[in-house]
């Protein structure tokens, strides 16, 4: 499916879709969205790129195997849950929130980092499965 139109478009679509996925991830706390959907959208972006340019190019673009995203994401989520235990003497996974809000992001809390972890894991899982299957099928 290496058409010129799709290939050219996918080069522009990839960053836009990735930005969109981050947008979806961050708005999740107030509006429809969240880490899970965000992660899926981001993986769709990469899969689209792979469709247009071939898997090799996408892998080159990623520089590392998407499988490594899984432990990273799990660690981010776990640390977000652990932070209250270590820093504030609260039970595991208590939500902590900053008093002031930050422009664009809004209120900052551990839940957001947890969601970022989910985002990364979902991306790692989807891309690992799809890449592995398309390579060996």
């Amino acid at each position: 499916m290496k058409t010129l139109i799709l290939r050219t478009a996918s080069n522009y679509l990839l960053p836009i879709l990735l930005l969109f996925s981050i947008f979806i991830l961050l708005r999740g706390h107030y509006l429809p969205g969240g880490g899970f959907v965000g992660g899926l959208i981001a993986s769709i972006a990469f899969v689209l790129h792979a469709f247009a340019n071939g898997l090799k190019d996408t892998k080159k673009l990623l520089k590392f195997h998407p499988g490594f995203l899984m432990p990273i994401g799990l660690a981010v989520s776990f640390l977000a849950g652990l932070l209250p235990v270590i820093g504030f003497d609260e039970p595991f996974m208590t939500g902590l929130w900053m008093h002031d809000t930050i422009p664009v992001l809004g209120a900052l809390g551990t839940a957001m980092f947890f969601d970022i972890g989910v985002y990364i894991v979902v991306q790692g899982v989807t891309l690992t499965i799809i890449f592995t299957i398309s390579e060996s099928a």
Partner: protein, 771 residues
């Protein structure tokens, strides 16, 4: 106290990064500093504890479920902590010489450290749930340690047996703990003590008792679960010393001791413990006679000693608890020594076969001294601490109201046989003539002979000055059972009493037995004939049957065709739901709750039906897959109409990915299509229509039910107040039920690794043949 427990875990994790360099070479002794510093930490508590103080610390873990990391340091847990860290120090040091140059020494220290930490957590936990967690951790680390020589089949098999038996016990403990928790409303043992009556009068008392017994008997190798312990002797000797004689196998004893004030003093509790302990101690003491492997002899005498402890706890009197407390100390001191001595002999002379070993005192005098001293303490000859311990056992049995003579007789028989085992392992290898082949045996490393000598001498120091133990350790132990302790006086010399006579009788018969009966291969072969009747082979057969059954089950239902799996699942659901729906449900359809049908819905439904038709009658795979995509998207649109944007978004993304995945796989498949025939289609059609019909009925019935919106109201009300979020769905995912999400993403990662492993790492058929 949390730090004291976590040190071991942290150390094990640190070893993961470049531990090889740290523990190999001259720094191999370094890890021993960890148990040593912990030992010193716990020694500092002796004074407080002997003044009847109890140290209590609670860290919140999951407070909403009543599960906390609460730790209690009282007499009982102090004794165990001192044993774990004290003997741990010696074992760590001993290991550095015993496994010198072993390639995996860092792993070994890692497992050992995890075990030590878990064991400390076990004895310090006041909360039954955290106790269970640590309990399982000891089983798991023990599994790794027994299977340390992972190239040997026997070692791996023993490791599995041990894990199977003790792991099963752990699950029983969890079940028992949960029932206890639901009876008393708390998981903290110290709080449960205040609800003692609730437990004793509960309908579930027998159930809890059986579960707790199951846990304790498997862990402490009581008959008929004892057979994993001799198997566990496949582990390197430091492990046998540490886990399988001094600490881990006493976890069951600890549990019974700890729960005695809670559940004891009933006929059921006392009789069961006494009988099981009695059978175990006599049965395995007799087994000692038929072994020629030093470790085998010691394994059976350890089981026997554990039997004595269970028996004493079962008697339930103040004297028997006192005897049990002292005997724990006595046994740890001499049995750890004997194991270490065995290890040295094995390490230097290269064999543990008792029929070959003799005269080794000429080449390793300090080891011989340690062995002989330990054997003396084991036989209960004065002035060792063993003498004090044995006297207390006899006093415990003699002063009983019922069947005192009978029980005392059994105790004497056991003690005679155990003392024989001690002589065989501690004296026999060192006396007599030195055979030629052992003349060139080298003198052991300092760290090999010093720890056993230290322990053996300690046994005599405490024997001569028993008051050293009296106030510091023994009294607080008995105190934890809630009994009066003011009349406890440990003494070496009691004057001429009946107990002294019994003691003399035991020592005499033990010596006589040792001189009359020489261990030989013939005896070992004799007992091997009865192997078929032993609990070990019976349970092995049960396990074999279970494996065969699950093999049959799997080959029947797991055909490997996805369509069959789906049929089975759907069929099962149909029969289950159909049965419930047919069985006395009154059908009523609430037409008033129906909304008016809009144009959008009609359009989407038409698309849905059309795409389903396309799937069923499509002539190519690709067309069918694309139609499933259309169907998925239409359902997403329905979600959008019914205001579930989050669901719709996710569904859109998932549907897209699924279609892509399908296309990726199907693209490469051959064009040849094996379409199902009419019979199969009709069968599948009936199945799907029945299932769809049932779901529709179910949906209509659910609509007719009054709505209970308590839960959704709670989330709607609190999502902004408690979790600062306006999107309730997302707040539930990342906050209210965050732990679920955490587990879910872990599962996702595991499944991705599974896919990767299945497709990438599969062996080529040639490679498989070579294996």
């Amino acid at each position: 106290m949390l730090i004291a427990i976590l040190t071991g875990f942290v150390f094990a994790i640190l070893l993961f990064f470049g531990g090889k360099n740290i523990v190999s070479g001259k720094l191999a002794l370094l890890p021993a500093l960890i148990p040593l510093s912990l030992f010193i930490y716990f020694v500092r508590f002796i004074k407080d504890i002997s003044n009847n103080e109890i140290v209590h610390k609670t860290y919140e873990w999951i407070p909403s479920l009543g599960i906390n990391l609460s730790f209690t340091l009282d007499g009982l847990s102090l004794l165990f902590s001192l044993m774990i860290t004290g003997i741990g120090t010696l074992v760590f040091a001993y290991t550095s010489a015993y496994l010198k140059g072993n390639n995996y020494l860092d792993r070994f220290y890692g497992y050992l450290a995890v075990f030590m930490a878990a064991m400390l957590g076990l004895v310090l936990s006041d909360n039954l749930i955290s106790l269970f967690v640590f309990w399982e951790l000891t089983s798991i680390s023990s599994f790794f340690l027994i299977g340390f020589n992972n190239t040997s089949l026997a070692s791996r098999k023993s490791a599995f047996t041990a894990l199977g038996i003790t792991g099963l016990g752990g699950l029983l403990l969890l079940a028992g703990g949960l029932v206890l928790g639901s009876i008393t409303g708390t998981y903290d043992i110290s709080e449960m003590l205040q609800h003692k009556d609730l437990i004793a009068n509960s309908d579930y008392y027998l159930l809890v008792g059986c579960l707790i017994f199951g846990a304790a008997f498997t862990k402490s190798a009581q008959f008929p679960f004892h057979f994993w312990l001799p198997g566990a002797m496949k582990a390197p000797t430091p492990v046998s010393t540490y886990l399988h004689s001094a600490t881990m196998v006493k976890a069951g004893i600890y549990l019974l001791f700890r729960l005695s004030p809670l559940m004891g003093s009933t006929n059921f509790w006392n009789t069961t413990l006494t009988i099981v302990g009695l059978i175990t101690m006599v049965y395995s003491a007799f087994h000692c006679l038929f072994r020629t492997d030093m470790k085998g002899v010691l394994a059976y005498s350890t089981i026997s000693a554990l039997g004595i402890l269970v028996f004493l706890i079962g008697l339930g009197t103040q004297e028997s608890f006192l005897a049990a407390g002292v005997f724990i100390i006595v046994h740890a001191l001499y049995k750890a020594t004997l194991f270490m001595v065995t290890g040295v002999v094995d390490h230097q002379a290269g064999t543990r076969d008792i029929t070959q070993l003799s005269g080794l005192r000429k080449v390793m005098l300090p080891v011989a001294i340690a062995g002989i001293l330990a054997a003396i303490s084991n036989a209960g000859i004065p002035p060792s601490i063993g003498f004090v311990g044995k006297d207390l056992i006899y006093e415990g049995t003699l002063h009983l109201e019922n069947s005192a003579i009978l029980l005392t007789a059994f105790a004497i028989i056991t003690n005679v046989l155990i003392s024989y085992a001690g002589y065989v392992a501690g004296v026999k290898p060192f006396v007599g003539k030195l055979p030629e082949k052992f003349e060139k045996v080298k003198f052991p490393h300092f760290l090999l002979w010093f720890p056993p000598v230290l322990l053996a001498v300690a046994g005599f120091v405490f024997g001569v000055f028993p008051f050293l133990l009296q106030d510091s350790l023994v009294k607080p132990i008995v105190q934890t059972t809630g009994l009066n302790t003011s009349e406890i006086h440990l003494k070496l010399w009691h004057g001429f009493t009946p107990v002294l006579g019994l003691s003399a009788l035991t020592i005499g018969s033990g010596l006589l037995l040792y001189f009359l009966l020489k261990p030989s291969k013939k005896l070992e072969q004799f007992i091997a004939k009865f192997d078929k009747l032993s609990p070990k082979s019976i349970i092995e057969n049960v396990v074999l049957g279970f494996t065969n059954f699950s093999g049959f089950w799997t080959s029947t239902f797991q055909s490997g065709y996805l369509r069959n799996y789906i049929s089975i699942i759907v069929l099962f659901l149909i029969s289950l739901m159909g049965f419930t729906l047919l069985d006395g449900t009154t059908y009523k359809v609430d037409y008033s709750s129906f909304a008016r049908i809009t144009v959008y819905e009609v359009v989407i439904l038409t698309i849905l039906v059309l795409s389903i038709g396309l799937i069923v009658f499509a002539k190519s795979r690709l067309a069918a897959v694309v139609s499933t995509g259309i169907m998925g998207y239409s359902i997403c649109l329905l979600f959008v109409f019914y205001s579930a944007p989050d669901l719709a978004m996710t569904q859109f993304a998932i549907d897209t990915l699924t279609v892509i995945l399908f296309v990726l796989v199907l693209y490469k498949l051959p064009k040849y299509l094996n379409l199902s025939d009419y019979k199969m289609r009709i069968r599948d059609g009936i199945l799907s229509i029945a299932f769809g019909g049932l779901i529709s009925i179910l949906a209509l019935e659910v609509l007719a039910q009054p709505v209970n919106s308590e839960i959704s109201d709670f989330y709607a009300k609190n999502s902004y107040l408690l979790a600062h979020g306006k999107n309730v769905v997302n707040v539930i995912l990342v906050d209210f039920r965050g732990a679920d999400t955490m587990v879910e993403i872990s599962v996702l990662a595991i499944s991705a690794i599974g896919v990767f492993g299945l497709l990438k790492l599969r062996l080529k058929s040639v490679e498989r043949f070579q294996k």
